[in-house]
Symmetry: C2
Amino acid sequence: MPKTKPIRLDQQLCFQVYTANKKFNHFYQQALKPFDLTYPQYIAMLTLWQYAPLSVKQLGEYLHLDSGTLTPLLKRLESHGWITRSRSESDERTVIIELTDDAKNKRDNVFERVNSCFDILGLTPEEKEACSQTMSTIETKLDSYNESHL
Amino acid sequence: MPKTKPIRLDQQLCFQVYTANKKFNHFYQQALKPFDLTYPQYIAMLTLWQYAPLSVKQLGEYLHLDSGTLTPLLKRLESHGWITRSRSESDERTVIIELTDDAKNKRDNVFERVNSCFDILGLTPEEKEACSQTMSTIETKLDSYNESHL
DNA sequence: GTCAATTTAATTGTAAACAATTAATTTGAT
DNA sequence: ATCAAATTAATTGTTTACAATTAAATTGAC
């Protein structure tokens, strides 16, 4: 009876992605320290700087997050003065997220800080492109698997 | 005064990695459902199947996790009968994690299940290799940045 | 127009992750 | 041998993430 080949942890794609994500997390957490933003909060702000105003649902579609995650995160962003939350008048079910003036003013500062840290990483355009390409491939395959196994 | 270029969320590497990780998480969570293992628990078990017995500290070094994360995770694995936890006799500070017979017996079943799901993804060897390569590059760069900014 | 079905956000409960602290043990310098 | 420093896990507190449920508002079928 043949023994299954051992699975080497460091060769598992999932583990590499899992680890890379944690390191990205740490990297951005450091870069964002001056702004009192966590990494997920920064990602939410990125979306809002691009598309605000947005409903919680719309924001969740961009981020693939539900209200269970977003409601508390948005309350924290609100209490730190980044956003406002208000019920829509035309549809009382939806909550509209808007940027504060302060958040609009800080936008360029945050981008500058994050970009300069990212530049220090020293990824070549080719490396960035390769990474982006790879992630897209993985996502596409995972999507089609995940969708067929609801 | 030139306006900063808008940052497109879907072009941010960090966001792609963040998203891919979540989708991997979902993918493995599904594949592992029959075994009552979460994805992080599975990653811990992978390490233990390869190296057990291990101390909490040693396991943490493989996984880049500290006792704050591992202690509760290991307690759950223990309560589900995957592992045992016991103080080392030679050094009462360290806790030794060992596999139960049940865990050893289930090893091949888990691998078979996970591998067959992974195969369905349909990643070519080239794609796998490209992904692995990319992740290594990213990790190396992030490591050197993170280490220089302690 | 009424009421069941749907939609939206919030809530509840569980698991991860990490920083900071604590408690116990071991090591090592003297 | 003693005691300060270092090591190891556990604990505490905060934030994410997600499943499942709840509450309120809206839509639509009739």
